[in-house]
């Protein structure tokens, strides 16, 4: 099963790599939004603003990135996938792929933020850990809602409407925790928050694993 999951993952990766412009477009998207916030805030941001804007840019980039994951395959390849592998394998592969994708977007956004808005990160390790957990939780929910939206037909607003309310709990906890990674991070104090974040990511992955079969069958 793991080899199949890896197969889906690498297939998605190669498809994405072949169409580099969509990959580049997304990085350009984070670059422009970050530059916009640099201009709006006059290049002078507090740690609170840095944190808030970071997670908003990250969230919207993630929604943009993930909801395309079932778009390319809308017609023929959909059926091919379905015939070849179990739906659970498909969703795990896609989630893994989106996880890597979102993690790289997160790292890139962090780079641009430190470049344009100043290096505000106090505890880099903690921030990276948060980014890691965030990518895991986001990718699970976003992959699932992307599949839902793809199945529901082409309503362009649907992916955002479906996924963002479900992401609120994570984004809220993430921003509350990451502000402390910017100021001063105490592992003992933040352990329950990290645990809750891990739990939310775990629940999301488990739910999309369990429910995807119902969503997928036609």
């Amino acid at each position: 099963m793991f080899t199949q999951v890896y197969h889906i993952f690498s297939l998605s990766m190669r498809l994405e790599w072949r169409k580099k412009q969509s990959f580049i477009a997304l990085f350009l998207y984070t670059l422009t939004t970050t530059y916009l916030s640099f201009l709006v805030f006059n290049g002078d941001v507090s740690k609170e603003t840095w944190n808030a804007v970071f997670w908003i840019v990250m969230l919207f980039a993630a929604v943009q990135a993930a909801f395309r994951s079932f778009e390319n395959e809308a017609s023929r390849r959909f059926l091919l996938y379905y015939g070849l592998v179990k739906p659970q394998v498909l969703v795990l592969g896609k989630t893994l792929y989106n996880f890597i994708y979102l993690l790289s977007i997160g790292l890139f956004t962090t780079l641009i933020f430190t470049f344009l808005l100043g290096n505000e990160i106090h505890n880099l390790g903690a921030f990276m850990l948060l980014l890691f957990i965030a990518s895991a939780g986001f990718s699970a929910i976003l992959t699932f809602t992307a599949a839902l939206a793809a199945k529901a037909g082409d309503n362009p607003a649907l992916p955002a409407i479906l996924s963002i309310p479900l992401l609120y709990p994570q984004v809220l906890t993430l921003s509350r925790t990451s502000i402390r990674a910017l100021t001063g991070f105490s592992w003992e104090f933040n352990a329950p928050y990290l645990l809750v974040l891990l739990m939310m990511a775990g629940i999301s992955i488990a739910l999309s694993y369990l429910l995807f079969a119902y969503l997928w069958r036609d």
């Binding site: 839902l148 309503n155 609120y168 709990p169 999309s208 119902y214």
Partner: protein, 219 residues
């Protein structure tokens, strides 16, 4: 008359709530003063909403496992009554907040929880609206309903414990603390929840029966 006993019970309980909610003894508190009685009408909306959403979840699971069209209808209509109750809860809560906490809208974990629940279920109805095939609609909506319900539970059950809230019983407990309601208030509050929830179920059954008639006519 036999199958109507629960409707009578719901009506009687709500009348009991209205009478004893105003006339019964309540603890005298600063800031809240007499408005503590709003608990019987505002907080019950919210409890009833949770009950209805849970029913909707059960019907969605039923639909996914059996594929029965009626179960999907039930899931949809209980969710829509739940949304009605949550809107009433949100509006009344906002009014109450204006006179006790001083603003219509405050950044509070429970308030956010209700607002996000509303957004999630709004998305649920948008999703239903954008699919034509009834079977596919039921399946996608059912799947989303389950996902949404769990996320709602996370939001209203866990996050208030992590953050401070103006609502009673926080700092570890999303429900009421032992000192927020005395036994006299409980005697009104819990019947009130059951009463309003039953009224909600009644409204839901009316809508379901109406839709069933429409289906029959179509055939």
């Amino acid at each position: 008359m036999k199958q109507h006993w629960w409707k009578v019970l719901g009506v009687v309980l709500v009348f009991y709530t209205i009478i004893w909610g105003f006339l019964g003894e309540v603890p005298a508190r600063f800031i809240l003063n007499e408005s503590i009685r709003a608990t019987y009408f505002h907080v019950t909306m919210w409890f009833s909403m949770i009950i209805l959403m849970t029913a909707s979840l059960v019907f969605s699971i039923q639909y996914l496992s059996k594929g029965n069209r009626l179960a999907d209808l039930k899931a949809k209509e209980t969710a829509s009554t739940g949304v009605l109750f949550s809107i009433i809860g949100l509006v009344t809560g906002s009014l109450w907040a204006r006179f006790t906490w001083g603003a219509f809208w405050v950044n509070d974990a429970k308030l956010n929880g209700t607002a996000i629940t509303l957004l999630i279920y709004a998305a649920y109805f948008v999703l239903r609206g954008s699919v034509d095939d009834p079977q596919k609609k039921g399946r996608l909506a059912g799947v989303y309903n389950i996902f949404a319900y769990v996320m709602m539970l996370v939001f209203i059950g866990i996050l208030p414990r992590m953050t401070d809230s103006l609502h009673p019983g926080n700092g570890g407990n999303p429900a009421f603390g032992q000192y927020d309601m005395d036994s006299q208030m409980r005697m009104v509050f819990y019947p009130a929840v059951i009463g309003f929830a039953l009224i909600g179920v009644w409204i839901t059954t009316l809508r379901i029966r109406m839709q069933k008639l429409i289906w029959k006519k179509e055939n």
